[in-house]
Structure formats: C-alpha cells, structure tokens
Amino acid sequence: MNIRAVRVEDLAGMQDCNLHNLPENYTMKYCSRLSPHFIQTAKIDRIPRPDLYHALSLAFTFAKMEEQEEPEGQPATNHVPHGHVTSISVMRSYRRLGLAKKLMLQSQEAMSSIYRAAFVSLHVRKSNRAALSLYRDTLGFTVNNIEEKYYADGEDAYAMQLTFEH
C-alpha cells in the first residue's frame, strides 16, 4: 500500500472512508476545515480506477495542531503548541497491515518536528481494546484520565497523551 501526505483532492475519498468505517460522521465542511492542519499528516491509498465512484482512501488520520485563540494582529501568550488526533480510520478490508501505526508515526513526526509540539493527545473509546493497545503498548501513549460520556452514544473515553522529546 502506498503511504503519502494528504492532498486537497483527497477530501472526498477521506470523507467516504470515514462514513464507511466510523460511527462518528464528518461532513465535507468539517473535513475541509481541518485541511490546513493536516498538510503534514499521512494517508494511504491504492491507485484508484477511473470507473470507481469514490477515490480510494483506505486509511487516513485527521490530526491537527490545536489552535490558540488569537485576536487579529496580537501575539498569543502562554500557548503550548500541541497536536490532537481527531480521527483515524482504516477500511475494514485493509486491516492487519499495520497501517494505523504507520500513519500515526508519520503524523507524530510532523507534529513534533515541524510544529515543535510538546505532546499529542487523543480520545479512544473505552471498549476499543485494539486501539487502546496500539496507542499504549505500541506507540507509548499514557492514559491521562477518563472522560465520561465523551461520545454521542454515551460511551466513556480514555483521554491519552504522548509527550515528545525535543
């Protein structure tokens, strides 16, 4: 599978990938709002065939740098730059390839080296053991706390974090 940086024209395929895989939905507007921030994050695809309706996005991460509230023209104060992984999605038929890990590593590298992020955070469903194991055991995240009823369906989330060393 091909791993590369996200491009603008991937938006439609990524939205489609998301709708296929995740219980959470994102509209195109939401996707494009994130776009300035995911320049550096990675995406996986297969060379699409022209007769398919949707470009094939097999997996992607939505990761962004958390923005500071900053009135126009004024410098920000006390903002620690850090990243947040909004969403990571792998098409069911493309699992067991270690794609999630590869994508996370690419995205962490970009956050740390380009933006000098101090840390990256994410939320994961309490029931999602496989994901928890990826973040904790493979990538080295730690659980910060539990956010009750974080998801729309009432499930709790682990708030996790990984500190970068500079």
């Binding site: 024209e9 439609a12 489609d16 195109m28 300035p36 038929s93």
Partner: protein
C-alpha cells in the same frame, strides 16, 4: 433623491443604532431605529438598518421589504448597499452581493470592512482582476499589517501576475527576516514563494531558494519532507528542460540523494520509488528488458526495511519469469500466514500479465494442497488459519475471473472450516453479485453483518447490496443502525453527504421505475456539490491571515473542478436521462402519480410515506420562521441565513410534472462540457438535451467530440442515425448560416451518399458479436420503422454466443421497453443460460426472493463483535 439630513443629535442616535447592531443588541437597535423613523420616516439608511435587524429577529419578509424600501429612498448610501449585500450574501447569491458591495464602494471607497468583504466575494466568484485591486486598496489602508501584503501576493498569483506576486513576497521576506529561524508561517511563505518560482518556470532559482533555506543547514523551511519533495520535482524539471550533460549528471546525483532521504523517512511511498527510478531513467510503469535488472536492484536495496511492504510489492510488478516466481512465494507465504485480508486487492493489478496471474494461481493452489493433505491440525499449529486465508484468496481469484461456481464451492469449504469469519460471507456476497444474484448476495452480506454488528463497514455494504437488490426499505433499516438515533437513515446520510448512499439509492429507485424519487435523490447530490462551493467561503480570509497558502490555492483549484467527481457525473447523466424520458413520453409523469382509488402497489406507497416522513423529520424548523412571527418573543438573533424552506414536494410528484424538463436537464449539465471534455456519457447527455431543444449545432458538436474519442461506440452509432433522421425529417430546411454548417458536420460523421439503412447494416457487420452494438443496431432499425418482429429477431441473435450477463440484461430491458411480444421467451432463455443468476427470474419470483429476505429473520439483534480493530 436627496436623503433627509439628520440633525446633529439624531446623527448620534444613528451611530448608536450602528453600534447596537454590531453588538447584536437587536431589540435596542430596533427601538433606536423606530425613534429615528418617528422623526424622519423617509430616512433610507435607518429603514435599511431596521430591516436588517428584523431579518435577524426572524421577520425575514418584512425586514427585506423594509430594506428594499429604504434603498429606494437613498441609492447613494454605502450603508444601504452594504445592508443589501449582506442579505444577498446570506442567500448565497455571491455574484449579486458582490455587485452591491461594488456599489457601496462607489460612495465610500476607503471603507475597510466593505473592502475586506469585497475581496472575499471576489475570490469566491473568481474575479481575480478586481481582487488584486481590492487587495491593493486594503494594503494602502493598513500597510503595517503583513497579512495585507500576503493577501496582495495571493491576489496577484490568482490573477496570473506571477512576477508581481514574487516581488511582493520578496518584500515581505525582507521585513520578516528577523522573525527567527523557527516560524511556521514564515516557512509556509517561503514554500509558497518557491512554488511561484516554479510556476514561472524559473526552476534554478526555485532550487537555489530551497537549498538556501534548507532546515538541515539551519534554514527556515521547517517541513523537510514537503521541501525535499519539491526539490526533487524541480530537479526533474531542470533535467527535462536542459541539454547540458554535465549539469544533468550533477542534478541526477543531487536528486538521488534527496530521493534516498525521502525513502529513509517513508519507505512505503510508491511515488518516491517511482521518482527514485525515474531519476535513473527508468519508467516504473514501463520497465524494459534492458533496465529490469537495475530497477530490481534499486528496489532490493529497500528489502531489508522490515516494516515497508512497498519495495517488495513493486518488485513483483517489475520482475518476470523465474524472478517473479522467486519473489511471489515468500510474499504470499508472509501475507497468508498473517491473514491479511487485502491480499487479493493488492495482487489484482498484477493480473494484467496473464503469466503472473497463472503463477499466482498455481502457487496458492500448491499451498492449499499442502495444507489440505497435512495431518489434522494440532492446537498450536498456525496452519489452519493459513489454509483458510489461502481458500479466501482463491475464492476471490476465481470470482474475479468469472468462475463463479468454483469460487462459491471454495467458499463453502472455507465456511465449513471456520463459520465465524465475516470476510468469507462478504466474499460470497461479492461472488453472488458477480454471478447475477443480487438477492443471494444481499443475504450473504447480511450474514457477514450478523457476525459483527458493531462494524460499520459491513453495515454499509449490506445496505448497498440491499439497494442493488431493490430492497430500499430493508436497506434503510440496516443503515439506520449507525445513523443518528431518531432520524431516518436517509435524512442523516443526506446531511452527511454520503455520496455512496445517495448514488445507490437514486439508482435503486430508478431501476424500480420510481423516477420521481430517483430524481429527488439526484438533486440532493447536486445540492451537496453546491454546498461544497459554499464551504470554501470562510477560507478566503482565514487562510491569508494564517498564511496557509499552498493548501489554500490548491483548494481553490479543487473547488473549481469538484463537479468532475464521478458521483456527480453519474447523477448528472441519470438526471438528464430521466428528464429526457419524461419529455419524450408526456404520459410518463402523470403515470407516476399515486392512483388515489386503486392503491394496489403497497410497497411503493410505503416508500412514499417514508419519503414524506423523512422530509418532515429533516426539516424540524420547517415553516418555522414565518409562522412563529406572531408568537415569537422577537428578541432572539436568528442570524441572517434564510430558514430552510419546507419541501412541499418530498416525493418529487410535482417535480416529474415540470413543464420545462429539458431546461432543467440542461441546467444540471452546466459547465460539464468544459470540465470533463473526455467523458462520452456527458457528450451523449448534452446531445440528448440539445437535439430536443433544437440546438442542432451544439448537438452535432457533441457527437463529433464523441466520435474523436471512440468512433465505434454503440451509443454514438444510435445518435448519429438519430441526428441524421431528425434533421432530414424537419418540415423546412434550416436556413444559413446554421443549415450548411450543420449539414457539413453531419456529413463528416456520416457521408451524405450513405443511406441510414446501409450505415446501420454496415455497423452490424462490423460488430456481430457485440451485444451492445446489436442493441444499437436494433434501435436504429426501430428509428427506420422496421417491423417489430424484425427488430426482435435482431436482438435474439445476442443469444447465439456466450456473453456477459449485464449485456443480456440490457437487451431484456430494451425488449420490455418496446413491449415486444417475445420478452418472456428471451427472459426464459437467459434464465436457463445463467443458472446462478436471479436477474432473469419472473417478477413474481423476484418479489418472492425479496420477501424471503425480510422473512428469513433479518433480526434487529446484532451479533457480537468478533474483534474490534482500530
């Protein structure tokens, strides 16, 4: 018209009104406005401001009327024009709003806010020349804010004035030199500058600039990967545009180092390998016997990377013969042992080489034989799962190659071996679908879903398969398991712009003949793309302020082309075909209306009710704003956006009775001729509308374009005959200048001396074994008024040779359309021929199949999740 002057203290009052509006103190503002109007009932600006406030308060119609009245009183006020522009903008009438802003500027040319909004609208409507001027004015007013410099540079670039853009960027970089070496925005600005140099064709300066800002040497370009990707691209362009051998060698070396660095960062990037090889003169898509060994050697250099799969996979593409055999075996062993479900999709592109295909089949069969004959698996053996994945791969392989029976037999063995793996049922579904059994396919997919109810992917697939089998209601039930609670699936998926759903649902309705409901879905797709256009609005200001320039300018280009999305094209073509059918047969629209007295078709009635319900739920605020006028507290800010109108035609019943079907069809096609000039379906769609609107030149142009793309296309053959026939049977010849040009153009497609009969029989002779060509021939014969039995027997010749199932299905549909007496005969012949297929069953049998799905215990209880993977 002179506005009534306000006395000094009333001027103060008016200033209060403005600031109250700014701070959204709406009730207060309205009172202030009333106070002024009491004294100056003709004061246009106050009327406009009050109107604006009323719109915010939910009294839209009243407010807009007041604004219009106010404008009439004072056409030379920038405030009046500004208010009007705001209202137009809220209705997404960007072109109109821009005109009003330009008017406003006539009376207050240095108004910063108006200039800023004007710039945004000029970008939204792509009026870049005006944009450069507006940005220039903004900069003149606020020269010390760097964003206005950036904004001007972007405006110049968009307008094609690259040299000016470059100059501005150099200037900004000059005064930003002291920001320090670590600034993300500065880094982005530099990258943008490099891109402009590239667009100017000055590759050398672009490379120099990148190198002088190289982060590895303490420079300010922070994204090393993006910077290096740009550098290799530039070096390749330099090599291409320059003949000096010595320099070429130097560039090749530099590029080689850069590619190696990129691969060290991401050894899974196909594009990196492609460039890495291209730099050495090897075209990865066309490796020759001369450079094959070298290509393999370069790829092998990355085999020791434990994680990356790309080099090994690409080597399979490059290698041939024994080398391929040596590489494929460990590749397969590894993937089958790990149980990688995507293995077949990964290998499929190799099948273009039939030798490789055979080697893969033989190798996997070998595995299977080994595992199948080995002693019964012991507890800790990994072989059983490897055996299972080998069966899984073989089933996909045979199904893909059209060996449906073989595929299904292997799946039976696999399922008997491990009855709990959803992938096996999903593959069975696909195999059945390919064999022409959409009903069995839907059932198999549902079996997979019941094994892992928590997985949205299988859920979506099940819904899709149900739609393909014509079971719209059942599909909705399945989809709704993952859509927002309480809302019907359709409403939620529409809001989520789920293209896969909208297209499938529209098609499903269309196949069932419910053209009204199909049209509704296709129009939702149009709306979705319209909203993409609106979505970009907020970026014009934001991106400039945040210096996000490269992605932003790419996004503008993407927005301009977004309607070339295959989903949109598909919907456009389908919509046009429906409108044309409605135009050609005036009884069709009325026939779609529900028969009040004989409500025999229960299922369609059900669908209609569902649509009604969906429409109701989708518009919670339907007819809200206006009817609440009297009761609302009238202090709440409802914003400027118009409330969503209640859809008074949720089933599309009025829509299909529209009196201007061709104009509506034409509207859906707007711009597509330029956007996707290579698309034959669009050529035909435009032709079909144009010829009926008597726009003959446009019609013939489309056929000439299609002719240059594929002169033998069956749909083209039919239309050339149709055009000649239509034009020659006109009661009066078309006068010059159109007439002679048209005649000449038609003659270029079909020489005048060739009769239609001859044209048609020659076409058949050339394509006797192509079913779609035979259908085209039959349709032309029909135009030529051939008797029904003759047309029928032409179509029956399709049965002489083995052909694809969907082609036979197309013939059957056409026979049905013509109401041929031999429909049943043809259907039964096909049904016998495709034993696995249910497509050729009788209507009663198909209804029974659908019913049996519903009754087979499609239970809402979902299975336990087997395994939740990330």
């Amino acid at each position: 018209m002179a506005p009534p002057p306000l006395a000094q203290k009333d001027k103060k009052l008016f200033a209060d009104l403005l600031s109250q509006y700014e701070n959204r103190q709406l009730s207060k503002g309205r009172k202030t406005a009333d106070q002024i109007l009491k004294k100056y009932p003709e004061h246009g600006e106050t009327m406009c401001m009050k109107g604006l406030i009323l719109v915010h308060l939910g009294q839209r119609d009243e407010g807009i009327n007041l604004v219009k009245e106010g404008m009439r009183k004072d056409l030379s006020s920038h405030i009046c024009w500004h208010v009007w522009a705001l209202i137009q903008k809220s209705e997404h009438k960007y072109e109109d709003a821009l005109k009003s802003y330009i008017q406003a500027l006539k009376f207050d040319k240095d108004n910063f806010n108006i200039l800023r909004d004007t710039a945004v609208l000029q970008t939204q409507t792509r009026q870049f020349e005006g944009l450069a001027e507006t940005r220039h004015n903004l900069l003149r007013l606020r020269p010390f804010n760097r964003h206005h410099w950036v904004g001007l540079a972007v405006a110049y670039q968009l307008n094609g004035n690259l040299a000016e853009a470059k100059q501005i960027l150099e200037y900004i970089e000059g005064f930003l030199r002291n920001v320090g070496s670590y600034d993300v925005e500065f880094s982005e600005l530099l990258m943008y500058h490099v891109r402009i140099l590239e667009d100017m064709g000055d590759f050398q300066s672009a490379v120099d600039m990148l190198e002088s800002h190289d982060r590895a040497k303490g420079g300010s370009v922070l994204d090393r990967m993006a910077g290096t990707e740009m550098k290799v691209r530039l070096l390749a362009k330099l090599k291409e545009s320059n003949a000096d051998d010595e320099q070429k060698t130097a560039w090749t070396e530099r590029a080689d180092a850069a590619w190696r660095w990129l691969l060290s960062q991401n050894a899974d990037g196909y594009e990196y390998y492609k460039g890495f090889l291209a730099n050495q003169g090897i075209d990865l898509a066309n490796v020759t016997d001369e450079n094959r060994e070298k290509a393999l050697e370069m790829l092998r250099g990355y085999f020791n990377d434990q994680v990356a799969t790309a080099p090994r996979r690409l080597a399979l593409h490059v290698a041939t013969g024994q080398e391929f055999k040596d590489l494929i075996k460990p590749y397969l062993t590894n993937a089958l042992t790990k149980g990688i479900p995507s293995l077949f999709a990964d290998l499929k592109p190799l099948y273009r080489d039939s030798l490789k295909r055979q080697i893969i089949e033989d190798t996997v069969e070998e595995f299977r034989a080994t595992f199948a004959t080995s002693s019964p698996p012991t507890g800790d053996s990994i072989e059983p799962t490897t055996y299972l994945w080998a069966l899984y791969l073989l089933a996909q392989h045979h199904s893909y190659l059209g060996r449906h029976k073989q595929a299904l037999e292997i799946l039976d063995i696999a399922i008997a071996h491990t009855p709990t793996l959803p992938e096996l049922y999903m593959t069975r579904a696909r195999a059945l679908k390919r064999a022409g059994d959409p009903h069995g396919a839907a059932r198999a997919m549902n079996d997979a879903r019941l094994l892992d109810g928590q997985d949205r992917f299988i859920n979506t697939k099940t819904g899709k398969y149900l739609l393909r089998a014509g079971m719209v209601d059942e599909a909705d039930t399945i989809f709704s398991k993952f859509t927002r609670g309480g809302t019907p699936a359709g409403v939620d998926l529409e809001e989520m712009q789920a293209m896969h759903y909208l297209v499938e649902q529209g098609d499903s309705y269309r196949r069932a003949g419910k053209l009204n409901l199909a049209l509704k879905k296709y129009y939702v797709i149009q709306k979705v793309f319209e909203s993409f256009r609106e979505d970009q609005y907020e970026f014009h200001q934001y991106s400039v302020r945040k210096t996000i320039l490269n992605v932003y300018t790419e996004m503008l280009k993407w927005e301009d082309n977004v309607r070339s999305h295959p989903g949109f094209i598909h919907a456009a073509v389908a919509t046009v075909q429906i409108w044309v059918a409605l135009f050609d047969d005036a009884t069709l629209g009325p026939s779609l209306q529900p028969a009040e007295t004989t409500a025999s078709d229960v299922s369609s009635k059900k669908a209609l009710n569902k649509a009604k319900k969906a429409a109701r739920k989708g518009q919670p605020e339907a007819d809200g704003a206006n009817s609440k006028k009297a009761t609302a507290t009238q202090t709440e800010d409802r914003g400027l956006e118009p409330p969503r109108l209640k859809d008074d035609d949720p089933e599309g019943l009025k829509l299909v009775l529209a009196e201007d079907p061709l104009e509506r069809a034409d509207k859906y096609l707007t711009g597509l001729s330029e956007l996707v000039p290579q698309n034959m379906d669009i050529c035909f769609a435009i032709y079909d509308v144009a010829i009926r609107r008597k726009k003959y030149l446009q019609a013939v142009r489309m056929l000439m374009r299609a002719h240059s793309l594929d002169s033998e296309h069956p749909d083209l053959h039919l239309r050339i005959a149709h055009l000649r026939d239509t034009v020659s049977s006109l009661p009066e010849p078309i006068p010059a200048p159109v007439g002679p040009v048209l005649a000449e153009s038609i003659a270029s497609l079909l020489p005048e001396e060739v009769s239609l009969e001859l044209f048609n029989s020659q076409y058949l002779q050339k394509h006797t074994s192509s079913p779609m060509a035979i259908v085209a021939h039959a349709k032309v014969a029909q135009i030529l008024k051939a008797p029904q039995d003759e047309v029928d027997s032409i179509l029956f010749t399709v049965l002489r040779e083995p052909v694809q199932l969907d082609h036979e299905f197309a013939v059957l549909s056409y026979l049905k359309d013509m109401k041929s007496p031999r429909v049943e005969e043809f259907r039964i012949a096909c049904n016998d021929r495709f034993e696995l297929s249910t497509l050729f069953r009788s209507d009663e049998e198909i209804a029974a199949l659908q019913k049996s799905f519903t009754e087979s215990g499609e239970s809402p209880d979902d299975g336990e999740p087997l395994e939740t993977v990330v």
